[in-house]
Chain length 400, copies 2
């Protein structure tokens, strides 16, 4: 069977081990290493309070080549002041020492509880231990994925294989994130490797674009974390003609990257804390793309809409209510709403519809809510998931 | 025992009956009547989709004198088009006919499910029935309160008695609202009566001010409904020297009205769907009042904060995370946070604190979260409540 993990792309090794932060003894520390050095790009949280890991990685990603990524789970190393910053630096230093590279060529990420200091001795010992287990096997890739999980229930991985200038190019990715997920990537770590030969500038451009229409369109609870990071590393070992302009090769790569991110985003949403189903909100008829995006997000984040989806209840009144308070331009006499194919609200008025059919639409693992604001021609979308009792259970008891 | 209901103020009668909308046979239609005519003022939802009841009341409240308010529960008469508008008008007409006044001197309000048409025959018959039961007794006042309840668990009433120019002045109020409550009064109906003699302009000014710092500072789920309405009626029968300028008498009246609204707002929040405790978020050190209000609301609406409060978990990281993504100016190295008196975060760094003590603070029926943004001198606040499994249960199954 083909390797479906983060090591599927040529030139990457991975490892995931337990360094002792997770009391269960499960993996909590992961490494990705590119021995030949990779071009890299990242997209980071826009929260004003950020983890020192984000600060350090933002700086390091500008370096010429990246040789490794080191990640820990359970503790986010956020709101940890000078000590936290030093710990993030130490993680890069130890990783660099193990692979005999420079600290500035290593990226770092953390996820978990905010405000606690890392047990840095354990983490550093763990890095040394992990560096001895590096492998290109799919097991090693999965070990890495397991190491970055917190409240995630399932390991989330995806691979896309394409041909570029008659060479096989692979893009592989893994993602963690279950709650605290809002557009702009709240509490999400996403790592992507590829063997494509591509310029650093275009790699960054392709990542930014793919993330903007996938991971940034996913909302579990509208939360934006202090640690969100999506990184891509390109080893260039596929041997394709280097992608150095926005040519057809770039478009092919871009499309595959989009599909990979879309796949990972859906997997994340399906695994959202307590989620039982997901939905796409498509808003059209807006005067601007911004308004459409704002309305879509308002609906997807609306607790009462999310509860209604949980109950498979075609309570479209809550959708209209959400739109009305989203602060966007609309025509109250022209607004319309569909649940799947079922028209429930037309030109500002309730429509008689088959409630059982509508409820069946919502009961599917994924459905589409379409809203027409009736004032323009712009559209945008957002993915959301339902709000369940389990979400509360998980989040009332997560910390203490 | 003193009358503690909406009929406590001189000159007001009330009634609450079942007209058959609630299948349980409980009260679902209420009337407040002021036979001598009252000065009136209102504050209404800012949702762009509004119930025709809001449209009609906004128009009528400009009339010289208001003689009655008619309210139904269960069906919000929102998103009901032309038929819904006609029904709101009919409710005013029938009420006016019963008390021999004009339709434009009657206010109307509805609350409940969006998108369904009122069973208007039942409602009109109910109005006639209720008009025969009008009384100044406290039982009649409570009957009215019961008639406006939807998912509310308890009847919410408050009375304030003050002296103005050596005359006893009474302000009485009742409120409904349990979920879908956001700043700017989502799914909330509030009715206030007073026998104070006061000019219409100052009555409106006092109401607007009181609501802005009480009912508009309360958030259950950040939702703004299509029907929110706060109305005040002043009969002028207390015999006090008319309040016609912003004099000491006005200030006294204003203060009592604020206290009444504060009382009702807290009662509403305590009765929020599934809520087990409430909290006040006080944000200081902001560069503007707007920023402080925005940050306070962002924290109070943050599902993960609300879940942590539910679990009595001093998970301050979520508070800081909420502030960081609130879109307000802050100094990440100066931000501080207290839970009650327990300092948990100081100048951008975690502080060692007594977790048990902090948890005890949160376990109280009400506690204060204080956040200092560290960049200015402005402050503001917001009230929130916890998010429980019961909230989901109620809202997943409310409609169908």
């Amino acid at each position: 069977m083909a390797n479906e993990s983060i090591t599927a792309a040529k030139g990457f090794l991975a490892a995931g081990i337990s360094c002792g932060i997770k009391k269960s003894g499960k993996n909590d520390l992961g490494l990705i290493v590119c021995p030949t050095g990779a071009k890299a790009a990242g997209v980071f949280t826009t929260n004003k309070i950020v983890s020192p890991a984000v600060v350090v990685s933002k700086k390091h990603v500008k370096s010429g080549g990246i040789y490794a990524v080191v990640v820990n789970s359970v503790i986010a190393n956020a709101c940890t002041g000078e000590e936290g910053y030093k710990n993030a630096v130490k993680m890069c230093e130890r990783t660099a020492a193990e692979i005999e590279e420079k600290s500035k060529n290593v990226l770092v990420a953390s996820t978990g509880v905010i405000g606690e200091q890392l047990p840095i001795k354990k983490v550093l010992t763990g890095i040394s231990k992990a560096s001895k287990k590096l492998s290109a096997s799919d097991k090693a890739g999965l070990d890495f994925t397991k190491a970055i999980m917190t409240t995630d229930r399932v390991a989330k991985q995806a691979v896309r294989r394409i041909n570029i200038s008659w060479k096989k190019v692979t893009i592989a990715g893994t993602i963690k994130g279950a709650g605290m997920i809002g557009p702009n990537m709240a509490t999400m770590l996403c790592f992507i490797t590829t063997d494509a030969a591509i310029s650093k500038g275009l790699l960054g451009k392709a990542l930014k674009k793919a993330v903007s229409v996938t991971l940034n369109k996913v909302t579990v609870d509208g939360h934006q974390s202090t640690n969100d990071t999506a990184l891509i590393l390109a080893s260039g070992l596929a041997g394709n003609r280097v992608i150095s302009s926005e040519c057809r090769r770039y478009k092919k790569f871009s499309k595959a990257l989009f599909e990979l991110c879309d796949d990972l985003g859906r997997q994340m949403l399906m695994d959202a804390e307590g989620a039982t189903r997901i939905f796409k909100v498509f808003v059209k008829g807006a005067t601007s793309g911004n308004d459409a995006a704002k309305a879509a997000r308002a609906i997807a984040d609306y607790p009462l809409v999310k509860c209604a989806v949980n109950g498979a209840d075609p309570n479209w009144g809550r959708i209209i209510c959400a739109v009305g308070s989203a602060g966007v331009k609309l025509n109250a006499g022209k607004i319309s709403c569909k649940l799947g194919d079922v028209l429930v609200f037309n030109n500002g008025k309730a429509v008689k519809f088959d409630v059982k059919k509508a409820s069946k639409v919502i009961s599917k693992p994924e459905h589409i809510i379409t809203v027409d604001l009736g004032v323009g021609k712009s559209s945008d979308f957002c993915y959301g998931c339902d709000l369940s009792r389990e979400y509360v259970t998980i989040n009332a008891d997560y910390h203490t």
